[in-house]
Every structure is written in structure tokens, then in C-alpha cells.
Amino acid sequence: MLKVFTYSEKMRNYRSYENMVHARANIFHKRMNWDVVVEREREEDDYDREHNPLYIVAERPDGSHVTSMRLLPTTGPTMLRDIFYKFFPGCPDIYASNIWEATRYCATFKKGDSLAYTGELFVRLSEICLGSGIDIVTGVFFQSDAACPE
């Protein structure tokens, strides 16, 4: 089951949102040991709270989290411009209304889960972009077994 909602619509998708921020805390804080703020086992930052991002969340039939990502237009504040920029020498300053940034892509696969969850997530991402005049989605992806243990 796929859920698509923004931060301001999170109360109507309460369980999906809470499961996602718990999954993010597990992946980015516990497994990958990133410098992220975790409170009450939830990982949520100012991009969530201040800029009303779009989330795409894939869930198992019982509503538990499998994989998710967060999207923001690059005309506003992005992690690429604010944070990742300094890690990549010569990194271009990506800025366009038809380029969006994907961040906090995380997966909590269990043994036996179908990889189709990932497929579904990216199919929906493509549909959203094609329907909204978004031509490019950019993101920084870390090669890590921890992000996707299966």
C-alpha cells in the first residue's frame, strides 16, 4: 500500500507518518550513525517541520513501514544547497522549479518482503513527476548495506 501526503496532511496519515519517522530514526541514527536529531525514537528535522515536504511511503498490508522518501522543490531550502554542498568540491548549485530533491530515502525490509515495494515507490514517484511538470529528481545516495539490508 502506498501513501502520498505532505507534512501538513500528516494528521490524516498519522500512523504512516509516525512509522516513517521511527524507521528514519532506526536507519539514520542507529544503523548509519548519522548526525541526526532523534527524540522519542523519532527522527524529524526542520525540512519536515518548516517546509511542508511531500512523502511517499510504501507499507505492508498490516500498515508497517517498508520504504519511504521525502521530496522538496529546489527553489526552496534543500539539503543539497544547505548541507551536502560542502562535502562535494565543485558541486553545482542546483536550482529550478522542475528539479526536486529526494532525501531521507530509507528502507526497513524484513526477510521475505518483496522488492516490489521499492518498485512501487519509484513508479509512484515517476507518476507524480510526470503529472506535475517535474523533470528531474536529484538526491545524494549513500552506498550502504545499512540503508537497505536485503
Binding site: 529546489t74 536550482y95 529550478a96 522549479s97 523533470d135
Partner: protein
Amino acid sequence: MRPGKHRNGDLSVEHEENKPYSMDGSILQEIESFSRKENFLSTFDKIKEVFPIRNISYVFLSEHPNIKAEDSFISTHSPEWQKLYYEKNFVQHDPAVKAAFNSILPVSWKDLRCKSAKEKQVMNLFREHEPSSSGITLPLRGLRGELGILTITAQETHLIENKANYSRLFSQVGTYVHEWFARQAGLRDEISTPSLSSREKQCLALYADGHMGLKVAEKLGVSEAAVRLYLTSARFKLQTQTTCGAVARAIRLGII
């Protein structure tokens, strides 16, 4: 798919060549030189000459002490409608405006649900004022996260058929308008305005030399997807819709 489209391995050609959605680059480029918000009315009129759009409205939605309510919007709607809208404070109850707070993607008005009597009233009055029109709400994000909205109205089936292309075009137009209002209000300094980075300049320079797509990627030692990314960003920063336009503007400005 038209023959030869992928000849150069450049997928970005696809929407660039989509003629019905491109217009004279000067329409977007003159925005920088505007001194008063009323100048946008000529921009919107020029856009309406190219596309069957009935009305275009913009509102700066984030609250800021530098921006007074009466200076926060510009619209091609009739003075009567604007007067009614402003005096009755419809902006508080307009479902098309509320959509910009809830969604971050463009929203078709046909998908809006009026949740209160007041919201229904605003929508009904709009339909009386502009019969058989529908609209698209485009939420806008400024460099510092400021929220804005651009709405376009047109005949409903026309909007449905063209939603993605109008969303692309008017998100671009809307962002320029939004940044202009932010600059006018003193919310920008020079540092915050994105300029072309070296990779973007290199791509434009190679295009200026007649290279395209795959060739540019090979010369720079990056993927074709990266070249598409740099060129898309460069086109936006140079206020153009096409790579040709971006190359021409970069040369004219002495950037490459």
C-alpha cells in the same frame, strides 16, 4: 516519438521542442528589471496572448512585517472581482489558496473539496464571475522557504489536458514573480541569489561550440543525466525555457 529525438542522446530536448509551451524568452527575462508590481500585468498579458489562459494571480503568502497585505498580490482578474475579494478577505476562505498550504504539488481546482459554507461561497462567486472556468493552484517556495501561490484559470478541459506542461511553465514563471516580491521586501541579499556554477557554464560553453548530449558528457567526464541536470538548472537561472536561449543569454551576459 518523433524521429531523431534521441539522435543526440539528449532527453531534455523533449519538452524544449514542445513548441506550444515555450514563449519569447524576453517575457521572463524582463521581470528582473521591474520596479513596481503592476509591471507584472504586462507579463501576464503577454503570456495570455500565447496561451488560452483567462487569468493569472499571484500572492505572497508567508507573513512578514516587510510585506503589507495590499502589496502582497497581483492579478489580472477584473477590478470588481479583486475589490470584492480583497474587501471580503476571501483569501482566508479560498479553497484554492488553502491548497497551497496543504499541498506542495500543483492542484487542479476540480479536485478541491470545499469544507465550509464560506469556502463554497467563495467558489460559487468565482464561478459566477468567471463562468465555465477552472484553475490550477501552484504552490511556490522561495529561497528561504517563503510560501507563495500562483493561480491560473482557463477552460476546464483545456487545463486538465495540459496540467503537467502548465505546471512546469507556471511554476517557473511563479518562482520568478515570488523571488521578485521577496527581493522588493528586502528579504534577499546577493549571496542568496543562485548564480551559474562552473559545471553549468562548462555545459553551456560546449553547447555553444555545437556539442550536444552524449558528447558534452564525454568531454566533461560526467553522465548524460548529470548534463541534463546542469542544463535544466542553468536554463532556470538564466530565465529561459530552452538550451539555445540559455546559451544565447549566457553569451550576451558575458558568462561564457
